[in-house]
């Protein structure tokens, strides 16, 4: 493992090959806001909040730090006028889906994002994929997945698997930044669980 040195916000950081820019920043205590990032899951790059500005060979560009691998001599800016402006826009777009999500409020204040800038589209799910990925990667139960595509994309439980597995797990619940997941679970329970599976048996 060779060491790579890069510069993050003017600070020299040494990182191992294969690390992402986000991991390198976190290793020296530089904060980059994230939403869809979870340390025990594969990087996903869904929320785009962790975008940073890179300067290499005289040009600057924006990349998503949670999936961008470190390179020798990178110059990273986690806050710049450009980054802040785009992050504010991303926050406003996310807030149009979930205007009262706790995880977004502080960030919205910091970046001056107006949660009413875009027309409300109260799907409440911001498609971070945390529940879907946690269920598949950590629990290996695959009880929840995405359905449909584009603007219609949403999360959906498989009722048969959820009725068996979810009662004693629910580990994905605290991960959800918007509580859309809890709502989806309640809906699945009401619509599609057979009555015999409605209560967990006391023996379990």
């Amino acid at each position: 493992m060779s060491n790579i040195t890069l510069q993050i916000d003017g600070k020299e950081v040494s990182a191992k090959e294969g690390m992402t820019v986000l991991e390198a920043a976190q290793s020296v205590g530089i904060f980059i806001p994230t939403l869809c990032h979870h340390p025990s899951l594969e990087p996903y790059g869904a929320c785009r909040l962790c975008l940073v500005e890179l300067e290499s060979r005289g040009r600057s560009r924006l990349v998503v730090s949670c999936i961008y691998p470190v390179e020798e001599g990178l110059v990273v800016k986690t806050r710049s006028e450009k980054v802040d402006r785009i992050r504010k826009m991303i926050l406003e777009l996310l807030l149009s889906h979930a205007p009262d999500a706790f995880d977004l409020q502080d960030l919205a204040e910091e970046y001056g994002a107006d949660k009413y800038r875009f027309e409300k589209e109260p799907s409440f799910c911001v498609h971070c994929g945390l529940c879907v990925r946690y269920c598949a990667e950590v629990k290996q139960k695959k009880a929840i997945g995405f359905i449909n595509r584009g603007t219609q994309r949403e999360i959906s439980f498989i009722p048969e698997i959820a009725a068996k597995e979810c009662w004693n797990c629910k580990e994905c619940f605290p991960l959800c930044p918007t509580e859309a997941l809890q709502a989806a679970f309640v809906l699945t329970k009401a619509l599609a669980f057979s009555s015999s599976s409605l209560e967990p048996s006391p023996a379990e």
């Binding site: 695959k142 009880a143 929840i144 997945g145 995405f146 359905i147 449909n148 959906s156 498989i158 698997i161």
Partner: protein
């Protein structure tokens, strides 16, 4: 649809997980929709999670998770057809079949869909029924055509 037939289709594709979409397409074309039991069978035999099958089956418009009618009517609402009066043709089809776009009637006779271009704009307004293309349609003409399907 009989599960034996689903098994045969899966066997034809040698039970390969990479043939998932082909298997779903074969089931779809034989049965006109994908019943839940068939999807569970495919998931079990291919060792593919049901969430992924659900994701794929809802992603592509070629798949349907609800029963479809014996005849699929596609009314083109592309620009060329639109300016030549596709809206009135669609209204006529809606009245004749008593269903709205995206729906199927109760005796599973017709399913109605709107499409955005069938690629033969010179023939507009175009209606496609079971793969047969009817060009230069008018409300009265499409009524005669639809009568011949049962």
């Amino acid at each position: 649809m009989e599960m034996d037939r689903v098994d045969q289709i899966i066997d034809k594709h040698e039970c390969e997980a990479s043939s998932l979409i082909q298997i779903l397409l074969d089931i779809q074309s034989e049965n006109r929709w994908l019943p839940k039991e068939a999807l569970e069978k495919v998931a079990e035999r291919l060792q593919v999670p049901l969430t992924r099958i659900q994701h794929i089956a809802t992603f592509y418009k070629a798949f349907s998770l609800v029963p479809k009618g014996r005849h699929g009517i596609h009314v083109c609402l592309g620009t060329a057809c639109h300016v030549r009066g596709a809206k009135r043709v669609l209204d006529a089809v809606k009245d004749l079949t008593n269903i709205k776009p995206g729906e199927t009637d109760l005796d599973l006779k017709f399913s109605l869909e709107t499409v955005n271009c069938l690629g033969c704009c010179a023939l507009g307004p175009v209606v496609e029924i079971d793969g047969k293309v009817y060009g230069n349609t008018a409300p009265a003409m499409i009524a005669d055509v639809i009568k011949n399907y049962d």
